[in-house]
């Protein structure tokens, strides 16, 4: 738990350092940063004011301190006459649009989350099922076929499968004529219907990956001594496979799943681009292309937090699954 918090802090420091120091080392001055904020009607007074308000003229460690403090406690920004309060977690204001960063990110979380969770369900169920059957029927036609497809699956990038699906089902056959995100609360049916293509294109890659992992894990497990013991006890084969084999084979899958899912919440960048979904990934891309530092920092921190949380959950789950972890 403490390790997790430390990790988030380290991530924040590193990101902060990269995005504030690197531009400076590259010759960009605080004045230029401030100019970026002020926009086209920049004049020496407004630039100086912005520098002061954003604290850009302070030493770097103080800037970092304000950055962290704002996340934890919120911050007051003074823009001449109109003072503003940025609620916690405050990542500041966009340099370009002058809009607060966090509410924008918050609005996008459900999009990315919907995308990730549906895809995760599909890929875990299909990947594990295919992997187990392949392992049990090793060398058969089913095994060869599904592993061939899986190899293709891990090799095909998401933008390819996504475009392909979109091209076929949306433009050619017009089954989904206009894929766009609907919020779950307003219309669950539309929500699910519109997410089907993004889910599939995202899940295809991971499903292929998980099928291969599960198959390998299952083959290894089924060769273990305790599987032989289970058979020697006279257990029926479905118990041997389902209870003794699967339990051991799935443990590493859980770990990997936690990490993959955490990463995905941090932004299914390509999938969101392909389907024009306004999720965290799309936000991150926009932030980077605009060189909009507060947005970049905000999205990085949020993504890092998700990954850390997921890893924490995995650790807890792992202890629940594997008694050897619990006691040692």
């Amino acid at each position: 738990m403490i390790a997790a918090i430390v990790l988030v802090l380290v991530v924040s420091a590193v990101t902060f350092a990269i995005f504030f120091l690197v531009p400076k080392l590259g010759g960009q001055t605080t004045t230029q940063l401030a100019t970026q904020y002020v926009g086209k009607d920049a004049n020496p007074e407004s630039i100086a004011a912005v520098k002061k308000n954003l604290g850009l003229d302070l030493p770097i460690y103080q800037q970092y301190w304000h950055f962290i403090k704002a996340i934890v406690m919120g911050a007051h920004y003074k823009f001449g006459p109109d003072a503003a309060y940025c609620h916690r977690p405050c990542f500041g204001y966009s340099f370009k649009s002058h809009v607060e960063v966090w509410p924008e990110i918050k609005d996008r979380i459900p999009v990315t989350f919907s995308l990730a969770i549906g895809a995760a369900v599909i890929w875990v169920v299909s990947g594990v099922a295919i992997g187990v059957v392949s392992a049990l029927k090793r060398g058969t036609l089913f095994d060869r076929f599904s592993m061939g497809v899986a190899l293709a699956g891990v090799s095909l990038p998401i933008f390819f499968t996504g475009m392909l699906l979109l091209g076929l089902f949306s433009y050619k056959w017009v089954i989904w004529d206009n894929v766009q995100y609907h919020s779950f609360t307003s219309n669950p049916g539309e929500w699910a219907w519109n997410l089907i293509l993004p889910w599939i294109s995202l899940a295809f890659l991971y499903s292929a990956l998980y099928a291969r992992l599960t198959r390998a894990g299952m083959l290894e497990t089924m060769g273990e001594d305790y599987i032989r013991t289970a058979r020697a006890k006279g257990l029926p084969e479905r118990t041997v496979v389902g209870k003794h084999g699967l339990r051991a084979a799935l443990t590493p899958i859980v770990t990997i799943f936690g990490m993959d899912f955490g990463l995905l919440i941090g932004g299914a960048i390509i999938t969101e681009q392909v389907f024009s979904f306004q999720g965290i990934g799309a936000y991150a891309v926009q932030a980077v292309t605009d060189n909009d530092l507060p947005k970049v920092l905000g999205v990085t921190m949020v993504a890092a937090a998700f990954i850390v949380i997921c890893n924490l959950l995995v650790d807890l789950l792992y202890a629940a699954i594997d008694p050897r972890v619990r006691y040692s």
Binding site: G139, R228, G234
Partner: protein, 392 residues
């Protein structure tokens, strides 16, 4: 009761090491693919055993277990026959790769691979198992015949509590509630000498010490009162003091339950302690068989002499070094022609060349004592009394 029959296919037999792994990796298919082999092949075998072999509890007739591999046919067990009564202990000894473990797994019907070709007959309490329906064999497994494995750490499932694993073994064969089964499991843990069985019931295998784990394994094997217990190197992974305890335990339990026990080991010390009868295997075949007492005091086969000679003994004067059996077990891709042991046999030259061409038959050297050796009887007894016995 002859062990080989068609001396034509004499010269190939193979390692149980690679073979044992084959079924493991290939843990695939339905149970149907398992132990059936070709019953047709079994019928044609000219063993002296069309009669289901007397009234022995376990009777193995011309058992052959071959594995199809990329390098060729591995004949891990090639024409094995023996009988075992209830209440008796049979020791099977041999080096790695002699087919001991393959035999035990074959009796249990645990060779689950389409690559395994199993023929011959295994009669358990009047029921033939090789050609039997795999599901029928499964129902016998764990109930009538049970097995103790070598390494109890890897042989128990790391994610389930010891008690739960014993309960599971009991409930496959008994329609009882979880609670009743748990009582039974605790009782068994107590019986095999695990202190505080009620508490240890809830522990995981890794929380047990090696000896305790093997006790738990034994408890699991015996929970259904099996009449045949196969112990595959049950003490190899344990330290010596614990070894003795485990052997005592197995012996006590055998007395108590009257089971037939097969003790598979490469350790003659273990066998000397527990076995009534002895079967020495080499390259998938029996090369000597008889009562343990006879085989220990009057062994007939040069390989057995070698095994006895290689044992470290505390009651003898210490010589410089141990005397191993020279050479290594046959490369099973190219099994020697004739007697598989002849390249390592110091007396092969005394057979007039027949050891290099002819597979020796098992012959009865004394009542109930068989050996497969080309040496003439007088020659053999001369070598034994003059050269071997004084050195032991």
């Amino acid at each position: 009761m002859s062990t080989d029959n068609s001396s034509s296919d004499a010269l190939k037999k193979d390692a149980d090491e690679p073979a044992a792994q084959v079924p493991a990796q290939k843990a695939t298919d339905e149970p149907a693919a398992a132990a059936t082999g070709e019953p047709a092949g079994a019928i044609g075998e000219p063993v002296a055993a069309a009669a289901p072999a007397g009234d022995a509890y376990l009777s193995v007739r011309d058992l052959r277990i071959h594995f199809q591999t990329d390098d060729g046919l591995v004949k891990s067990v090639d024409g094995l026959s023996f009988d075992l009564e209830r209440g008796r202990t049979l020791g099977i000894v041999g080096e790695s790769g002699s087919g001991k473990s393959v035999t035990s797994l074959g009796i249990m019907g645990l060779h689950r691979t389409s690559r395994a070709r199993i023929s011959g007959e295994v009669w358990l309490d009047g029921e033939e198992l090789v050609a039997a329906d795999p599901d029928r064999v499964r129902r016998l497994r764990g109930r009538k015949m049970a097995m103790i494995f070598q390494d109890p750490l890897s042989a128990m499932h790391p994610y389930y509590k010891v008690g739960a694993q014993i309960v599971e073994a009991y409930r496959v064969h008994h329609k009882v509630s979880r609670k009743v089964a748990a009582e039974r499991a605790v009782e068994m843990l107590d019986r095999v000498g695990i202190p505080e069985p009620r508490k240890r019931f809830h522990d995981y295998p890794h929380q047990f010490s090696g000896g305790m784990r093997q006790r738990a394994m034994i408890a699991m094997s015996l929970v259904n009162n099996p009449e045949l217990l196969i112990a595959d190197e049950p003490t190899t992974a344990l330290d010596v003091t614990v070894q003795a305890q485990i052997l005592d335990l197995i012996r006590d339990l055998q007395k108590e339950f009257g089971s037939a026990v097969i003790m598979i080991t490469h350790d003659l010390g273990v066998v000397a302690e527990v076995a009534d009868d002895l079967l020495v295997m080499y390259a998938g075949r029996v090369i000597e068989r008889g009562s343990a007492e006879r085989v220990f005091t009057n062994p007939q086969h040069p390989y057995t002499w070698g095994l006895l000679g290689s044992m470290p003994r505390l009651d003898r004067e210490r010589t410089d070094r141990l005397n191993p059996v020279k050479g290594s077990p046959p490369s099973l891709i190219n099994v020697p022609d004739g007697c598989a042991f002849h390249p390592r046999c110091p007396y092969a030259s005394l057979t007039g060349g027949s050891s290099e061409t002819l597979v020796p038959e098992l012959r009865e050297m004394a009542p109930g004592h068989f050996a497969a050796c080309h040496l003439a009887d007088d020659e053999r007894s001369r070598i034994w009394t003059e050269e071997i016995e004084p050195k032991l």
